[in-house]
Amino acid sequence: MEQKNSFRAGPDEKGRFGLYGGRFVAETLMPLILDLEAHYEAAQKDPAFAAQLEDLQTHYVGRPSPLYYAERLTEHFGGAKIYLKRDELNHTGSHKINNCLGQILLAKRMGKTRIIAETGAGQHGVAVATVAARFGLPCTVFMGATDIERQKPNVFRMKLLGADIRPVTSGAGTLKDAMNEALRDWVTHVEDTFYIIGTVAGPHPYPAMVRDFQSIIGRETKEQMLAREGRLPDTLIACIGGGSNAMGLFHPFLDDAEVNIIGVEAGGFGLDTPDHAASLAGGTPGVLHGNRTYLLQDDDGQIIEGHSISAGLDYPGIGPEHAYLRDTGRVTYVSATDKEALEAFQLITRLEGIIPALEPSHALAHVGKIAGDLPADHLLVMNMCGRGDKDVFAVAEHLNVEL
């Protein structure tokens, strides 16, 4: 049973988490979104839906993902006992598949015959292209032209999987622009198309739905930590772009008051510069892409492009539930710069033999900032939400190495 004053009670019937969330979409999409909500509610009550999803998670994705004690990293920082939730070991290499499987099963239930998606780093795009191939549905992925350039391996993977990649050149050609274009496609093909949104943002019910599909990360972590250490972790840390891996890890722990929860935004060149993607630290509340949340914007309400070394984090908004958790103080939000993430990337690669994606490298950078000051019995879990194969070319460039 949910406790009174629960942090896990949202969203309300209007799709709000406090002030944030909602359904700020064009009328053409509104009937579709209400239909989606009804189908999602029905699916949640259907044991067959849960059983099919669980079967795929086990045998297709490889869940549960391990909770790994990072011994060398722990020794290196000389403080907290560091665990990594290894969602980078999932099929397709990130946590994104958790959500995509849930949504494509819903698309099939609704009788939709075409899938669209937006992608930034390409991790979500690859996961969507994967489930579309698995379920035999044609798939179109919108991707900023800038991102296509810096994420070539993922672009090719999506093409191999049969996806149609549409380069988006409007704006700065990154994730926000890809999302605009996906929404334009959706409004044009409402009858047959299902839009698989990749993060805990967009109009209700997406933020709640994506969170629910990702919460398997936190539920497993809870069980694994109890089995391993006999108690809950003391600190959870995850990186945040839109915030889906973080919400997935955090949500099952929100009402466990003793668990300290930290989200790490992309600090880019630094919060004192205009080039970062820290919507909570440097943004103000506004309305974009179907929901109210913190946005990077100017005084006139025009959206500012985020910047991050990581294409998966440079979104100028953040999931509305994170906005709510920030305002209530339940979750602490900090940031790590490009440079710090790049250093953390190299450190963990050498110490643990795990090449992380640049996104969780931000979370790791923050682990490095706090772990040394924590006692040895402090249990810290970091979400290793993606692997770094896609980033090796970009990292080589940043390190001035020619491949």
Binding site: K14, V25, E27, M30, P31, V287, D299, G301
Partner: protein, 282 residues
Amino acid sequence: MSAPAKPTEPKNPVTSRIDALFARLKAANEKAFVAFVTAGDPDLDISARILAGLPQAGADIIELGMPFTDPMADGPAIQAASQRALAAGQTLKGTLDMVRNFRADNDITPIVLMGYYNPIYTYGVDKFLSDAKAAGIDGLIIVDLPPEEDDELCLPAMAAGVNFIRLATPTTDEKRLPDVLNNTSGFVYYVSITGITGSAPPQQKAVADNIARLKKHTDLPICVGFGIRTPDQAAAMAAIADGVVVGSALVDVIGETAENRAQTVDKLLALASALAEGVKRT
């Protein structure tokens, strides 16, 4: 949610320049030509001259786009218009100033602002409504505010005496229609296709059927927009609706005359005249 509006009883009697216009047109058995341009496109000076010239060119209502960085319901033409205007420094305050200046010489032609909610939300809803009313703005069309979000701007706008004009679309089913028409005033904007602005032209028959469907629920005038580009298409839509909206085709003139800005105003107003002729042909 709410009970359907009775066809005989006009809802939300915000009396405005829009109501007066449609009363005049009805008496003359004419249809309305609604011309869309983006405020500040390609710059403040040219945009102000276009605005001043549109009534003379035959525009009955001016729909003035508020530029936004992320116009999710707009096609390439109006996206480009927004980008030109923003690059030239247009702001929401600048748009309100433009209308105030226009009103110094014209107190008749209704002006409806069209755009997205975020710039208004950031400006502050109450301050925006009071400044918009004072500037002489008659109505608002806000793409990303469906009836589910009426508390945000629609209800405050009605209270402030500004028409809130709703978009009805081919996906607006019988169940939703009463909610969509409720709290709507001035006119109803029927989006002729499922898609973005500047798409392929709509099918007259399908639009006619949908207008007939809407008319069962409302006495408000119904204007049709999205995908209408030529005087002939405008004439075809005017035959079945109370008004016709053209946007992308007009805005394209601004894009096409980028190399010769001396021609922009005249060419745009010439197209507006031709479109107005199409609308009045019926």
